[in-house]
Symmetry: C2
Subunit: 408 residues, 2 copies
Amino acid sequence: MEPEFTYPFSETVNHLKSSDIRDLMKYAIHPDYISFAGGMPNNHLFPVDEVEEIYHNLPRDIKELAFQYGPTTGYPPLREAVKKYMESKGISFENHDVLITTGSLQGIYIISELFLDPSDTVLAELPSFIGALTLFKSFQAHVEGVPMDRDGLIPEKLRHAYKKQNNVKFLYAIPNFHNPAGLIYSKERREFILSFIKENNLVLLEDDAYNELYFDEEDRALTRPLLAMADEQTAKQIIYAGTFSKIFGPGFRLGWLILPKGIFNKAEIIKQSLDACSPNFSQVIADTFLREGYMEKYLERIRPQYKLRRDLVLQAVRKYFPEEVKYVEPKGGFYLWIELPGQVEAKKVLDYALDNGVVFVLGKSFSPDDSLVNTFRIAYSNVETDEIDKAIRIIGEGIYKAMSEVGV
Amino acid sequence: MEPEFTYPFSETVNHLKSSDIRDLMKYAIHPDYISFAGGMPNNHLFPVDEVEEIYHNLPRDIKELAFQYGPTTGYPPLREAVKKYMESKGISFENHDVLITTGSLQGIYIISELFLDPSDTVLAELPSFIGALTLFKSFQAHVEGVPMDRDGLIPEKLRHAYKKQNNVKFLYAIPNFHNPAGLIYSKERREFILSFIKENNLVLLEDDAYNELYFDEEDRALTRPLLAMADEQTAKQIIYAGTFSKIFGPGFRLGWLILPKGIFNKAEIIKQSLDACSPNFSQVIADTFLREGYMEKYLERIRPQYKLRRDLVLQAVRKYFPEEVKYVEPKGGFYLWIELPGQVEAKKVLDYALDNGVVFVLGKSFSPDDSLVNTFRIAYSNVETDEIDKAIRIIGEGIYKAMSEVGV
């Protein structure tokens, strides 16, 4: 037998690691498991008929455009529609511009390429979005996790982390309906973040994927983007990442970056090499979806559905989980974050749950240094309502079992 | 006035350059210009009605899947359909597997990330696809252009270039209906490339974007991929990049890599950070398009259309261009490559053409070192047939003018 061929890998390749969620996902899509694992919209709520209607009604020349290459910065009408939409949330485009991206993860990739050299530091919330953490590490950056309380990043912890680290290139934060922590930043904490980046000339990457998914109209005001709250100078330090994944469908792979004009052209050049342009077909459809009011109606339909799932989960948690378990009641979004007493390993709970047909993601997956072993995330967005009580009961049994094993 | 904010750019950013085609593209989409600039399918030939039919007939659960995140490696039925399609071209999946990419450019990006460290070398045809050249350079690689004749890469030139360069990581080649050179490799030259990579343990990245666009059935046999021709061991050194851009529509942003199994997992991890997964909506539609015979019918419809444009362009070139101009008659694809006498600058011809409402791309854009100043590319794919004669006449006038200025 001939020897295997030796591939001339780059040095970067050694720093690539597979996300540890990957293995778990085989359970998440397995029909025999009830899954709280996937951070994804509900399969049965997508606007599948609306898209058929939208495509059918497009003029022929626009349909043809949808099949063609488009500008690297995005389909021009969609860029305008996104600007108008973001202006309605208080964001000004005086010093910023919109770049359409192939999902918001590509946006985060572009920002990483813009700023990160090996051994640079990114400050991120602890816990944080696993996709971003994996990505930052693939750039050989050090990710420093900064603890949060129920109102967001803890001021003294952020100050401490910033002082401790060299070459901090940016702060990555998810102020609204945080993935995975399920919390929303208080107004005071938002103001603190703004004064902190101003004082320290720090760039902020604001990931606002869940902005629209508030459950109660009265909480809408809480979701105001930091970019909208910032003064004109501070706004230049803020990059905002939005996505159609939660307000339309992840399958279109569409997001956007709102970039200070000083970095827009560089970001466009990076985007050009990544995939030339985002899918024009998706962009043409999303443009009509946003512009002609389909999105607003769709959101009105799905908010109560996610709220219902949140309610059912909380109801079951109160019924089946021991009192020692801590959590923040989510006011929106997809996630409930569970903290067990310090000495109890969430892994034991997951083992029990998997044995009994239920799956979720361990908290340590969302930590840059595998800490948070006593936590886990329940994503209630893509479960059937009639399965919630049973599944939470099983997790509760697992918690009692794990606690008793360590004598809690 | 406050000072502008200074962004903490990475070192990589300094190596990013905008493709010089970008500025030209404003003419390419301007209604007052006849454009031979864009290397893109014809706007009016896309299967816009077929897609409506395909979506309409999809079962509800598949429509829902189209809106959701999918596996990083691709929508499983599409991966199977692509394998079957590629097997029909003689490619074996004994030691290879398919990764769906967001356009073939993303595939080339993934391969670059896999192999390229700064100051590594990529061997590429001279001229070559500008998107790939720009991308390789963004990785701070040196791109060594290797001259071609009408049959493909010239053996002694390739041997010489390989010997001269250190850290050659791979050879990038486009054997079928080359962009921008418009030629197809002869069987002998294909065999030479295979024996060359075998002898030198060199990786080959085979870009086969134009495989299906032969004009005459008898030329079909010429398009056999190098990966299909290679022996089992040599095949492990070959990565094949395919795309739906020319057989369906670039707006779906779908391509595929056929990867030796020894690098598949690493490529998947890179893909995960780039955009998590390719657009599932595009993938679900493309799967039906390929699987249910829509693609074959579509290709039968478009081949004669592109052939017609090739014929009209050649007819006009014979009529209006001076005898000193050299070119190879394309047997397929989108491009006619024009070589002027050595001392004549194509830039002068372009200036004249732009003044008279015609646009094309200079040959030096396709050269890694801005050589080839006496060449240009005519992309005839996306022009109206009744504009060709006039536009080629104008270019011809420009050539005579440029030649007379240098006394040819």
